[in-house]
Symmetry: C2
Subunit: 270 residues, 2 copies
């Protein structure tokens, strides 16, 4: 049965995250998985199951989520993408479709994921609040200093126990993960109040990128020393890290697979 690998982009603002949620006593929630799966079904005219590489949270965005489905319908990818996109709402879009092995698993075969956290700071000082990109940028009221944030970020890189950087009762047995890159930069030379935090790694715990961002924001406002990260990680305690940064700043940029061209932002591949 032909397999199809999809690169999916979405504005997560009006979605309850990626994963299908069908409460027994209420209507199904609007999720990306449900909406895209429904569009695929109307194209292939048979039941399909769309799996996804990453269960992004409510309000989190994607440029390069990866999905996979099988169908008895053998359609050229360029016709398949056109048919699916014509059935999708304005806030979600299939950017690419590739033929794929029918036993492909987008979760276990992912080699590296790249997340970006976008923020604008010093909002309360004046006129820097995000406007046209307000859905995909977190607004921080107070000023941040990017230099100590950049210093602190490098201590997240490596293989560590990230138990401090996930929510309590996360249900995962192992909390050791490998971060391959973690950088803080000013994306717009004309706007010193914009900061992008890029985090790449083989896999992430629940809320891990948003807690890394929240901890770096504490460093940027001077509430935490830039050399504090190793000790924070060593405590293996959620309370040692900063708060979970709000979802609207987070975007799943790309996912790399073996021999794949799905690394859409090679600059961040560690």
């Amino acid at each position: 049965m032909p397999g199809y690998r999809l690169t999916i982009a979405y504005d997560g603002t009006d979605f309850h995250g990626w994963q299908k949620q069908e409460p027994p006593d209420a209507p199904p929630l609007r999720t990306v998985q449900a909406v895209v799966e429904h569009a695929i079904r109307t194209v292939v005219r048979e039941p399909v199951l769309l799996s996804g590489a990453s269960r992004t949270d409510s309000g989190v965005h994607a440029e390069g989520q990866v999905g996979f489905f099988r169908s008895t319908l053998d359609l050229p990818p360029e016709r398949m993408i056109r048919a699916i996109n014509s059935r999708l709402p304005a806030d979600v879009l299939v950017r690419a479709i590739l033929p794929e092995r029918d036993d492909f698993d987008p979760v276990s075969e992912a080699i590296e994921k790249h997340y970006r956290y976008r923020l604008v700071h010093s909002i309360s000082r004046g006129a820097h609040r995000p406007l046209f990109d307000r859905n995909i940028t977190a607004a921080i009221a107070y000023p941040l200093d990017a230099a100590p944030m950049h210093r602190a970020a490098r201590d997240f890189v490596g293989t560590h126990d990230f138990a401090s950087c996930t929510r309590l009762h996360h249900g995962r047995e192992h909390t050791v993960r490998t971060v391959t890159a973690c950088t803080v930069r000013l994306p717009d030379p004309g706007d010193p109040c914009r900061i992008d935090i890029d985090v790449c790694g083989g896999g992430f715990l629940y809320n891990m990128v948003r807690i890394i961002a929240g901890t770096l924001i504490e460093v940027g406002r001077g509430a935490r020393e830039p050399t504090d990260i190793p000790q924070m990680l060593a405590m293996k305690d959620r309370r040692a890290a900063g708060p979970t940064a709000p979802p609207e700043g987070l975007c799943l940029m790309s996912i790399r697979y073996g021999g794949s061209a799905h690394a859409e932002n090679p600059a961040c591949i560690g």
Copy 2:
């Protein structure tokens, strides 16, 4: 009485244009003028009248609309901007406030306005539909060729009778206007399906920029010769021009005044 000049940015998607509209038999419409004027009144605690340089249509955006009001309250501009912005909704923002003469008229004193029309074409072919910028970009189904559009654009420059480029029964006695710049360019080297049309001029007729854009789109799809513009203008007939392009692609970028620093995009000042 102190005067204040404001640079105002807004996402026009959810506004019924700039100008206050208070139908006698219905609730007032949500317009930019009404929303910003209301925020100013709650700051200065007295009646104010906010005038604006340009009556942008429903759905049209602005980076650099210019507004003006007088108040007995003499507040430093940096405190005024902070107070007003803290009372504005997410889709409108005051970017700058300057002290101004109390008899300033933002309409008659404007020297030059810069509009940008943003579009993405070839939507029906695949995955190029605008996503995160869908509010501020027009989506054109068919492919466009930018080269003949660029050729045609230069024939709009100059002082012409633009009667062909405004709606019938426009109510203006004089339809001669001066366009100082009109260019077609690809803003993103990585995305050949994006086109920006920049138009600058001393003043514009109703719908004029959107009709210029709609005419250039006809040239881009091959439905009109690139050398057709002078004859189209000479006909002084609305039916000789192309259709009015949709509002979401249009943005008022900046307005230039004598000796002012409000020219936010000097690249387009003719």
